[in-house]
């Protein structure tokens, strides 16, 4: 019995010891869990962005001209955009507000054909508030690189291709076209599989864009000026409204590619699209 009393006391002291050890580690542990939690938020935000925001804001948030502004841009983080909009709060509040409630009315000086949708459930959107928080964490994580200048989309140098679809193009490189379409131009965000624009890849009975282009310019109801598959694709990019694919709306596809693409870019894109049978 004496042994039991001694063991009981020892166990009690051991408990106190463990308690003290844990207590000493707690501040560090809590900080670490907080960091991990913020890290997971960014991870979650990244996949939500990929699923919901990429078609308009581009795969890396560089924005797509004439569709949606860049989020991965210095002016968002250095305060100039907040000042321009006249928002007095903090940047996280701004981003959270826009993402949750959307922009039912375009902000002054912009002329995007679509509105920024409301995403928060409290505003009728599809996302829970923790998901909106995750997106905010992800957008804000661009800060360092955006301020360092990494985020700005490359502006084309040299002459652009223009809107005349009869000009001769240099030989195209499908590989480079693929890279272009997946990069800052934002084509793949709307086209590869996403439901915003017509899918480029074959799916079900619908052939790929390459085959479609060969059939379309000869089909009844076609209202554009193209005489070949190449010209059809050329036209669809530089003058999307010349012919609207059935089931889609005008003015969703950016209207300014004529002024953004070089002849080489255009040729490469066409070569790539034609390869998708």
């Amino acid at each position: 019995m004496k042994a039991q009393i001694a063991l009981g006391m020892l166990a009690f002291l051991a408990l106190i010891g463990v308690l003290v050890v844990v207590a000493i580690g707690e501040p560090e542990r809590m900080a670490e869990v907080t960091r991990a939690f913020e890290a997971r938020q960014i991870e979650t935000g990244a996949s939500l962005f990929e699923a919901n925001c990429r078609p308009c804001h581009g795969p890396q948030g560089q924005g797509i001209q004439a569709v949606a502004p860049a989020l991965n841009a210095p002016d968002l983080f250095d305060g100039s955009r907040l000042a321009a909009v006249g928002f007095g709060g903090t940047l996280p509040d701004y981003v959270r507000g826009v993402v949750a409630a959307g922009r039912p009315v375009p902000s002054a000086g912009t002329n995007y054909p679509q509105r920024m949708p409301a995403w928060g459930q409290e505003y009728g959107g599809p996302l829970r508030s923790d998901q909106v928080d995750a997106l905010v964490a992800y957008v804000l994580n661009w800060e360092a690189r955006a301020l360092a200048g990494g985020g700005a989309p490359p502006t084309p140098s040299g002459p652009t291709v223009g809107a005349d679809i009869t000009v001769a193009l240099p030989p195209g490189d499908a590989q480079r076209g693929k890279a272009l379409s997946e990069g800052g131009l934002g084509c793949s965000g709307c086209h590869i599989l996403a439901p915003v624009g017509p899918a480029w890849l074959a799916s079900g009975t619908e052939p790929g864009i390459g085959t479609r282009a060969e059939q379309r310019f000869q089909a009844a109801g076609y209202s554009g000026k193209a005489d070949s598959a190449e010209q059809y694709l050329f036209e669809s990019v530089v003058a999307p409204n010349a012919y609207i694919e059935p089931g889609y709306q005008a003015n969703i596809m950016p209207l300014n590619f004529a002024d953004r693409l070089s002849s080489q870019d255009m040729a490469d894109l066409i070569a790539y699209m034609l390869s998708l049978k």
Binding site: M1, V18, M30, Q60
Partner: protein, 530 residues
């Protein structure tokens, strides 16, 4: 005329007898009241293991006090050893109390609403001192309690203690078993992450199947509060977990323990003549008194167990890390019910949901409840109960097999390409890719087949594992199976990792592809708890 008169008797005593004697007398009085009958000298005697006085003052607390009124004043020496109880009933009780205490701590930081429950859990882990260790302890003790209660049941079965006159003790025990399992199960839902939502959804999927359809639909509505788990379901499970079931358990335990004491702890089967029950007749020389021996032992057990559980929770055991927030729209691949219900999930794979998910488990539970009223053989001796004991052993084996069948390793049909990706990137736990050191995920694109030329050991291991699991994709229908892992720089401290499986369908020569991406942050800290 005074409206009231303040009278402090001890002051009168001090006046009469002087300060020291009066205070001493008061002290004796207080101790005697608090211990319900032992004065300080008696307490000292208990601690020193002195022989008790006559009449034995150590019996008074059992007769006068609340806390010990059910505790026997003495036990038979033959049931006081490790055998035959293995202390399992005592341990069940200990874990029950331990769960109540740690549970109250957790309750303080928890709100049962889908809007904040998950956030509360994160807050508990990241912002409450001792929050994580409390969660770990609560979880660890819950799992241990299930094990201990089941073992306790097995031991009362094996020693034949369920037989006459203890049939009702057994039946109340079965109620306690049910309460313990459902308590554990209802707690599972509360963190409101993917793991909890889907494990509980699988466990609760049976009620929907109750025929006829009206009944099933309405019982399901009662349980989940809506066709699917949501705000109402979470609130219901919470209330079950913190109010209804603990209350039911405390009442059932009262009856159970009352019955145990009423009949006396059954002696080891070989110690009595067949058909006799002498548990209540304890000869003077076989008595082990509660005070001091058993009291001392129980106190030291409590302090040792608390220290062990605390140490284990702090340094060894982590409750399952929080998965992403519960999402009723996304079913993770391979979710399973909690392990103690895996046998049910296994039964469901045997056949029809109504027969195997409801009727069979229902019958088994009913059978367990009335077992002592059906199995009325008079002898408790092992040698006389070969059939009964074999049936028990067979049941345990059957449960083990069924539990195995409940796991994803048995009879789950998914496409092997998804399976191969899930090997590295499982949807129910972090898995090898997320747990890999972030720095080792060198940017680039790597072929699984060329795993040995990857730049470091981590990547080689991952690719090798990927390559091995790809062999399952190869089949008469699919050739040219290949896998790649693409690691891209995505944001500051954030990488995107894509696993892609490609193959050629033999039938029409077309290409097949399955890929999945994950974003990994430097501070993600997967596989380290929390």
């Amino acid at each position: 005329m005074a409206i009231f008169r303040l009278h402090i008797p001890v002051l009168d005593q001090v006046k009469q007898k002087g300060l020291r004697p009066a205070l001493k007398e008061k002290w004796v009085d207080v101790v005697t009241r608090v211990t319900a009958g032992l004065n300080p000298d008696d307490v000292r005697g208990v601690l020193r293991d002195d022989p008790p006085g006559r009449p034995n003052p150590r019996l008074t607390p059992h007769a006068e006090g609340f806390w010990l009124h059910m505790k026997p004043t003495y036990y038979h020496r033959m049931v006081d050893g490790f055998y035959p109880t293995f202390r399992l009933g005592w341990l069940s009780t200990f874990f029950g109390v331990f769960e109540i205490i740690t549970g109250i701590f957790l309750m303080i930081y928890y709100t049962p609403s889908p809007l904040v429950a998950y956030e509360n859990m994160l807050g508990l882990l990241s912002n409450v001192p001792f929050g994580q260790v409390m969660r770990d302890m609560h979880r660890l003790a819950a799992e241990l309690m299930v094990i201990v209660v089941v073992l306790h049941m097995l031991r009362t079965f094996i020693t034949g203690s369920y037989k006459k006159p203890r049939q009702f003790t057994w039946a109340t025990g079965v109620v306690l078993l049910g309460v313990t399992l459902v308590l554990s199960f209802s707690g599972y839902l509360l963190p409101w992450d993917q793991l909890s939502l889907w494990a509980v959804t699988i466990g609760a999927s049976m009620v929907e199947a109750i025929p006829p359809e009206v009944v099933g639909r309405n019982v399901n509505l009662l349980v989940r509060g809506a066709p699917e788990f949501g705000a109402n379901g979470l609130l219901r499970f919470y209330l079950l977990h913190v109010v209804a079931l603990p209350l039911a358990g405390i009442v059932a335990f009262g009856v159970h323990y009352y019955k145990v004491i009423h009949h006396g702890h059954s002696l080891p089967p070989e110690a009595e003549k067949v058909g006799e029950d002498t548990a209540k007749r304890v000869p003077m020389d076989s008595r082990v008194y509660f005070m001091p021996e058993i009291l001392t032992r129980e106190l030291w057990y409590v302090s040792a167990l608390v220290a062990i559980l605390f140490g284990a929770a702090a340094f060894l055991y982590n409750a399952p890390a929080l998965e992403p927030h519960a999402n009723p729209l996304v079913t993770p691949l391979h979710t399973t019910a909690p392990w103690y219900f895996l046998w049910l999930q296994g039964l469901l794979k045997v056949g029809d949901k109504v027969v195997w998910g409801l009727i069979v488990p229902g019958l088994l539970t009913g059978l367990l409840l009335v077992l002592p009223y059906l199995e009325v053989g008079p002898s408790r001796r092992y040698g006389d109960r070969r059939i009964g004991l074999s049936a028990g052993a067979l049941s345990v084996a059957a449960l083990a097999v069924l539990s195995y069948m409940g796991t994803p390793y048995y009879g789950v049909t998914t496409s092997p390409d998804q399976e191969a990706v899930a090997e590295l990137l499982p949807q129910t736990h972090p898995g090898p890719l997320r747990s890999a050191p972030w720095e080792d995920l060198t940017l680039g694109s790597y072929e699984a087949a060329a795993w040995s030329s990857a730049p470091n050991a981590t990547l080689q291991d991952l690719l090798h594992e990927f390559n091995t699991s790809l062999t399952t994709v190869l089949s008469p229908d699919r050739t040219d199976v290949a896998g790649v892992i693409v690691i891209e720089d995505w944001q500051a401290d954030l990488k995107k990792v894509t696993l892609r499986v490609t193959w050629t369908n033999v039938a029409d020569g077309s290409a097949g592809e399955f890929s999945e991406s994950v974003y990994l942050h430097r501070d993600g800290r997967y596989g380290q708890g929390a």
